[in-house]
């Protein structure tokens, strides 16, 4: 299946792009992260500390255990600093 993957803030800078379409068979967000990390070193480095990364599934905050079935958009970013 195809999933749109978005990156924000330092994660976007380390990966070198803000969004991409990923063809994946991953069952969960965590599996998608493992696939991305296996791809290239810059992904591996960017995702090396998952405690520093938050995730949104179809634009709602979600844990990495969230299933990917039927999901269109997954976003990764550091803890938010609005206000």
């Amino acid at each position: 299946m195809k999933v749109q993957v978005l990156y924000f803030a330092w994660l976007r800078e380390r990966i070198g792009r803000g969004r991409e379409i990923v063809e994946t068979e991953a069952a969960t967000v965590a599996e998608l992260v493992a696939e991305l990390r296996a791809r290239e070193e810059r992904y591996d480095l960017a995702f090396s500390d998952m405690t520093a990364i938050r995730c949104a599934v179809d634009q709602a905050l979600a844990p990495v255990e969230t299933p990917l079935e039927g999901v269109r958009e997954v976003a990764f970013f550091p803890p938010m600093t609005g206000g």
Binding site: A75, T81, G83
Partner: protein, 153 residues
């Protein structure tokens, strides 16, 4: 039965008109109190050149609307407004505002505080500060995350 609260969420690069936003909330005849909070870019000893605010278009508006709706469930508000800017700002610029309106002041004060606490840790904004030494992403503060606990006691 009271009228449903009017929720207004705006995310733009442009600055906002605090007076116009307040007047919008004062329009309802049942409103006895309006509380506003404005966040600004601090000039930290003259070191800060620019602040760049990134956000997640689509999710941002959705998250802010959900936070405002939750405030309206918890307090009897006549209105709630959130305006958050993104893009490049300089010291002295306004970053964001929240405004809440209710019949009496207690609900408006509490709801404004609630909106701020949730917005800081649950709305997808990220700040980057540029000084002459370089640029750095602002780290989230544990105190901001902990501030949410008081609303869920």
């Amino acid at each position: 039965m009271a009228e449903p609260a009017s929720i207004r969420v705006v995310v733009t690069e442009a600055d906002f008109d605090l007076g116009a936003e307040t007047a919008h909330l004062e329009a309802g005849g049942d409103t006895g109190a309006v509380v506003t909070f404005t966040g600004r870019v601090r000039d930290t000893g003259g070191a800060l050149r620019r602040m760049v605010i990134e956000h997640y278009p689509g999710m941002t508006e959705r998250a802010l609307t959900e936070i405002a709706e939750e405030a309206c469930r918890r307090w009897q508000l006549t209105g709630a407004t959130i305006h958050h800017r993104h893009g490049t700002l300089v010291p002295g610029d306004r970053i964001m505002m929240v405004a809440t309106a209710s019949r009496h002041r207690e609900a408006a004060f509490a709801a404004a505080s609630f909106l701020m606490d949730y917005l800081k840790s649950r709305a997808p904004f990220w700040k980057k500060e540029e000084t002459e030494d370089g640029a750095e992403w602002v780290a989230a503060r544990e105190a901001d995350e902990a501030a949410l606990d008081r609303w869920n006691a």
